[in-house]
């Protein structure tokens, strides 16, 4: 597998890159860096997956791109703008063009499903109510939940909540959508539908999409490019064909789902024997 796809990393024009991370390092506290020098470059209109073990920092990457966290080192740019240099207004202006599906949905519990999806439209547009109604029902229809419009978030299952959150993330037809685990908790049917939906949105509206996921099979079906993250670094990357053909340890471990391999299953800790010896 090549180190990088030349078409992806070396674009002809810099504005063709929707999101770029260069040498980004970040840690929630000084002693334990979560990301250590991440380089990523996501071209406009592409659907890119970020994969990696639980706790490797995928959600953190999305928060960095959205400007909710600041990198301790490195540069992040979205549509050619350096996120770190933006003030609050600039950041908000940028976020209006970004949709984000949160890992746990983060639906507003005081609003109905309908109002949740209508929320960004009501906040950022002056559309008349009838139009908002039609738009919301369309978005809900796309995720198969038009019938659930009047339910409260507390009445939804985990998978349903995530699909509503997905409808909300795309409510304003953003130029960049970040999906944090869109497939978790979905049955195989919804999973396939949501996967296709993400792909279709990406192509029909010319959206750039970033999907964080564990689901290698679904990703291989829909994405254009995959980054593998482990221990704060990009350890492998490539198109789905390259990934399937790859013989690299990380990639094989993911594709085959083996517990042993270069990706550590355990959170860093003392050896097990030592731990028990102390307790005893």
């Amino acid at each position: 597998m090549p180190a990088a796809n030349p078409a992806v990393v070396a674009p002809t024009c810099p504005t063709e890159i929707a999101v770029e991370l260069a040498g980004v390092s970040f840690g929630y506290d000084r002693n334990r860096p979560v990301l250590a020098g991440i380089d990523m470059s996501i071209p406009r209109g592409k659907l890119v997956a970020i994969m990696g073990g639980s706790g490797c920092g995928k959600t953190t990457i999305l928060r960095l791109i959205g400007g909710q966290l600041r990198p301790q080192q490195g540069r992040i740019s979205v549509a050619g703008q350096d996120v770190a240099t933006l003030d609050r207004d600039g950041l908000f202006a940028m976020r209006r063009k970004i949709g984000m599906l949160f890992q746990f949905g983060a639906l507003f519990t005081d609003l109905s499903v309908f109002e949740n999806v209508a929320f960004p439209m009501r906040e950022h547009t002056k559309l008349p109510d009838e139009l908002i109604r039609d738009l919301v029902l369309m978005k809900l229809n796309a995720v198969g939940l038009r019938g659930a419009a009047q339910l409260r978030p507390s009445e939804l299952s985990g998978g349903m909540a995530r699909r509503v959150a997905l409808a909300r993330a795309i409510a304003l037809d953003p130029m960049l959508v970040m999906y944090d685990e869109p497939f978790a908790g979905l049955d195989p049917i919804s999973l396939g539908v949501v996967g296709q939906l993400i792909r279709k949105l990406n192509d029909a509206l010319g959206i750039t999409s970033v999907v964080v996921t564990h689901d290698i099979y679904e990703s291989l079906k829909i994405v254009d490019y995959i980054y593998f993250v482990s221990e704060g670094r990009i350890v492998a990357q490539g198109t789905p064909q390259e990934v399937r053909a790859s013989s690299e340890g990380f990639v094989r471990q993911f594709v085959d789902g083996a517990p042993d391999g270069p990706v550590p299953f355990h959170y860093p800790a003392r050896p097990l024997v030592e731990e028990f010896a102390r307790a005893g």
Partner: protein, 260 residues
């Protein structure tokens, strides 16, 4: 060691105070936003005000009835039982109305506001809002803050009114004081400028204090179940203490006994 602990506690509480000051400023800056979102603020007035009505009305009634009984007992010793209306009205309007309504408001509405905002934070709703380019201070915090400020004086006024009504029931209806002297003496003795306005000032100040503490604690709660419960407790404790302390300070300023 102990010294260091004291030092650290001091630093952290001073830090918190600075935090709170900056936060209050930010909330006040968002006042126009809350006015523009009038519907949201009205909703919060409903939640903090209307839903506190029952407890406020019932407590007011009982406090008034007890005041009448106790007051009558003392006043008859001095043969001044027709002053019962005055005693009850002044106690309620000047002190008990704002203070007791404030304490009830803190435990009924303040704790609910803290818990709600804290849970919204825990479940990443505030984070999601920020990612949608909507400022949670404007959308979530400011309406609750101003809703609380509007509700509190109204609740205090209702509390006093119910209290006076309770005193009337006990004093006039039950004990049999002359209704004319009950109401007449009350009207003659209660001064609008010094008693009622001062009572309103107190209740507004308490409303600001409770609402500010409630939204601050919620917004800065640790995003865990335990963090939210701690924050809720802190709201009730801090609001109650602030009400009592502020009441003392305000009463000192409003005191006329020294002829100033």
């Amino acid at each position: 060691m102990a010294l260091r602990r004291v030092g650290r506690a001091t630093i952290s509480s001073v830090e918190r105070l600075g935090f709170a000051a900056r936060f209050s400023l930010a909330v006040v800056v968002h006042a126009p936003a809350a006015l523009r979102r009038l519907r949201l603020t009205l909703r919060e007035i409903y939640f903090s005000g209307v839903l506190s009505l029952v407890i406020i009305l019932v407590s007011g009634l009982f406090v008034g009835m007890v005041l009448a009984l106790q007051g009558y007992d003392v006043l008859t010793r001095y043969g001044a039982n027709e002053s019962l209306g005055v005693l009850v009205a002044l106690s309620l309007v000047r002190e008990l109305g704002p203070v007791v309504a404030g304490l009830l408001f803190a435990s009924r509405a303040g704790s609910a506001i803290t818990a709600e905002i804290g849970l919204m934070k825990t479940t990443e709703q505030l984070s999601a809002m920020e990612m949608m380019a909507v400022d949670p201070l404007a959308r979530v915090v400011a309406p609750r803050f101003f809703g609380g400020i509007v509700s509190m004086p109204l609740l205090a006024a209702l509390f006093s009114t119910m209290g006076i009504f309770g005193a009337y029931l006990v004093g006039v209806r039950l004990i049999g004081i002359d209704a004319g002297s009950f109401w007449g003496n009350m009207q003659a003795a209660v001064d609008f400028r010094y008693d009622i306005v001062n009572g309103i000032i107190k209740s507004v100040v308490f409303g600001i204090a409770v609402s500010l503490i409630a939204v601050f604690e919620g917004y800065h709660a640790r995003p865990t179940a335990e963090g939210v419960s701690t924050a809720t407790t802190r709201t009730v404790v801090a609001s109650s203490l602030s009400i009592l302390a502020l009441d003392f300070v305000l009463t000192v300023f409003m005191f006329r006994g020294l002829g100033v």
